[in-house]
Symmetry: C2
């Protein structure tokens, strides 16, 4: 029913309205400041919320797991029509069996500088059963967050006479509603707003929209290097990531790299009756528990030898920026409902300077109703390590392997053979995720860095938080290699359940994101 309605509404109020198909109107003679741009975009948006939300909803309704070849292609096709509706020249940089890199280009007469906007249109894997509505790809509008008791509501009625009004606190629940489809929609809506208000762009725009970021961007570097000629640019803005936990807008200059792996420990070749063999058959769960315990102290310090050796420390500018960031850790702990963070008392933002070691998941046989009275045959931990500037993923992985060996475990990369099982009392299969990459960091002292901070602060009344680095991983190291300085300008709410079930976007954040992106497109210059 909802999807039928959606289709009908989309047909009637399609985002590529005739107004946008006619030639761009003559531009206004006087350049507007970022705060003026933001105000005009806001006015435009208040009359167009329904169209923007429906464009986003339609986009979210296309499943977007990177490995789901058929659907990820549909996302790319949808993106092409969304871009072309804005007159953006579009190319698909194809990847066999995967979603292409969607490349877009909008030349601006007399613009000296070129900006690349990066985002990804794929999303994290989903377990529909873990979602409140059970359907990660049926966008659901709610009156607030689920935590705040948000109720599901239909999209409000909309007509030319009575445009639908969306409350800023309403949220859209769907996979990628925040990570990363909404920044794309915000940028396109910002373009629409600028055009409708006859505000000229001050910079050439290119788009690099990736379809396998959540799978580790395995092909991005290769594809971009092959199309290096398209990528001539002065700065890259990434829309990935959430804003600061205080709710204030965020500009960030660094991210962490990532190394993922899975450790599996083994018991007998098959699960055994826990009565007949318990006390005697080795339990892989205990082996795994001991190994994990050996890796990290109770206050969060990683105990793997050399783990903190290669960190490139922050410089004075970066340290000063870090110190100036708001400290809302106490609020955050209350909101997230836990009593004591890891890190021995250091602030969250300070801790992000260091590499992390995290258990992403654990699995051995069954728990709950499905629990069987067995000594399981294996136990697995999925781990991720976030790397900071200076650290090499391969070297870090070797440190992990050395630690596991030091605990007395024999390491294999595939399931152990019978001979290996009989020769070694404890075995760990360690399988590295196929795609891992280093951290990267852009200097905050570059003219473009300073100019961007100024535009965003001007557009947001000086409310933005400036961070030397963020904890997450985006494959920005590739652009660093291409010598394009990159800066993060995320827009979505921090409590967006990113990577988890019930991912969501707060609409007020989308609206503000439009204003920030519009101000950058109109006024960024250095």
């Amino acid at each position: 029913m909802r999807s039928v309605l959606l289709a009908v509404f989309t047909a009637i109020f399609a985002y590529n309205t005739p107004a946008q198909r006619i030639p761009t109107p003559p531009e206004r003679p006087h350049k507007l400041n970022p705060d003026q741009v933001a105000q005009e975009v806001r006015d435009y948006r208040m009359n167009n919320e329904d169209r923007i939300i429906r464009e986003l909803s339609e986009f979210l309704a296309i499943p977007n797991i990177a490995s789901d070849t058929e659907n990820i292609q549909k996302n790319a096709t949808q993106l092409v029509s969304m871009l072309e509706a804005r007159g953006i020249e579009t190319h698909l940089l194809s990847i066999s069996g995967r979603g292409p890199v969607v490349f877009g280009k909008l030349a601006v007469p007399n613009a000296r500088r070129t900006l690349i906007f990066y985002a990804h249109y794929d999303g994290q894997p989903v377990d529909p059963a873990a979602w409140t509505d059970g359907k990660p790809f049926e966008p659901a509008l709610r009156t607030d967050s689920l935590e705040n008791g948000g109720k599901r509501i239909p999209l409000p009625a909309n007509s030319a006479q009575h445009p639908a009004i969306y409350n800023d606190d309403w949220r859209i629940y769907a996979r990628s509603s925040s990570d990363d489809k909404s920044p794309i929609v915000a940028l396109l809506a910002a373009l629409d707003a600028l055009r409708a208000n006859k505000i000229p762009l001050g910079i050439n725009l290119k788009l690099v929209l990736e379809g396998e970021e959540e799978d580790g961007s395995p092909n991005l570097e290769r594809v971009l290097l092959a199309h290096k000629n398209l990528l001539d640019a002065d700065v890259l803005i990434t829309g990935d990531g959430p804003v600061h936990q205080s709710g204030r807008p965020l500009v960030f200059f660094g991210d962490r790299g990532i190394l993922g792996f899975q450790i599996t420990t083994y018991g007998a070749i098959r699960a055994l009756h826990s009565g007949h063999y318990g006390n005697w058959a080795p339990n892989p769960g205990f082996t795994l528990a001991r190994l994990l315990t050996s890796m990290k102290s109770e206050d969060g310090k990683v105990l793997i030898e050399g783990f903190y050796d290669d960190i490139v420390p922050l410089n004075t500018t970066e340290k000063d920026a870090l110190a100036a960031m708001p400290n809302n850790d106490a609020d955050l702990e209350r909101d997230l409902q836990f009593a004591r963070p890891e890190g021995g008392g250091q602030r969250l933002m300070e801790l992000l300077q260091y590499p992390s070691l995290n258990i992403r998941g654990l699995r051995s046989a069954y728990v709950g109703e499905q629990a069987q009275n067995v000594v399981p045959e294996k136990a697995t931990a999925a781990i991720d390590v976030r790397l900071v500037k200076g650290e090499d993923p391969d070297k870090k992985f070797e440190q992990v392997l050395a630690h596991i060996r030091k605990q007395g475990l024999f390491i294999t990369t595939v399931d152990p053979t019978k001979e290996e099982r009989l020769a070694h009392p404890a075995i760990a299969r360690v399988a590295k995720d196929p795609w891992n990459y280093p951290a990267s960091r852009t200097s905050m002292e570059l003219p473009v860095s300073e100019a961007l901070i100024k535009v965003v602060q001007d557009a947001t009344g000086g409310q933005s938080v400036i961070a030397p680095l963020l904890g997450g991983s985006v494959p920005m190291y590739i652009f660093e290699k291409l010598q394009i300085p990159w800066i993060g300008v995320p827009i979505v709410n921090y409590d967006n359940h990113q990577h988890s079930s019930d991912e969501n976007l707060r609409l007020g954040h989308l609206w503000r994101g439009m204003e920030i992106y519009a101000a950058i497109l109109a006024d960024l210059n250095w």
Copy 2:
């Protein structure tokens, strides 16, 4: 296709053949010894294998999870017709919403003693995806165990002229093929064989067939006490459990009790992006790993205070029996493919005298392809403790709770409240399984114990292993309360994947089980 064929064959060669419906033929004048009974049963069986296997297959095809109300009732209905076809007077001792206790009674003229045969017709929970054939309730015949490369084959053709021959090494794969449906079928086939050979029963027979043993027998005690008048008997034989790992038949006189519980540890109220929060948000997987590590040493000693305090040690007869048991631990380790058991060098059989602490399963977020880059919100371990004679499940549970508290965790029985989360850095929700029960042990020095050992040894050429106790749990404490001595006479192969996926029965074990049960029914006396 298979099920259609099965139905056709079952209709043609139904186990309740007319031959069994006519009055019992006059009995033979001379009493046969157990070895003679075994031989005659063997001869009978070789002409009736197809009928027996089809009766078993039809029974296995009915799903039998205790909580699956509709299907568990179907199992009981099937059992009634199987028993009544043998002229056994049958009563259903009903349990609301669950499978009834199927009670059967076969009075034997001039018999002084009465034997209760106990087995259960429900099975452990199943995860079809973990089964090689994906269908735990579609019995599959294989030429050998899966480990030995057994190939799936159809049931062989059968006719009166050319009876189907089943190889002893063939196996039937299905839930409960070993635990516990086949002992029931073996007993009934033994009755058929005795009757066909005009061998009289020497003892009155009663059957107590339970439908929720794998769920902890929550109603058995209550139901049996309510029908105490039906249960007058001199001995109880349980068919539950596997034979000795050497492959030799087994008689056992004790079992372990069971205490099950689940421990859940908590991080933030929701899963968090592991990049933005990793290093700071507490990881419930590490909390759980540390707690589990604190519970058991690397060589298998449980470190919970008082854990070994209440054990009632074995007496001299029991110790002698234990010492006389074959030691095939080394073979078993090779077969099960691991290099070092827990227990610091003690034999498996010796270790079963002690209580055990086992991780049945682990679960936190996701691993493998489904792994998400999150700091999970919780982690769960399913644990079982096997209790030995003298130990009280409630006291043991209190010891576990005290240990968890000593590790600094705050304990709840339901999900913690926001206030609890904010007040306690580490929280464990500990949920006890609803049904737990103590161990029990029958004296090996009773006349009935000695008589039973003799019959079984005579029927098996002195090859049987006599064990003072077994590691598994059967709710025999109830019969101990009813002052009925109980003895275990299991028949199925030890490598039956009991409680796990790919549960199976080796046919040769079923055949030998028939012989043993027939010898007991014909010759047990004291």
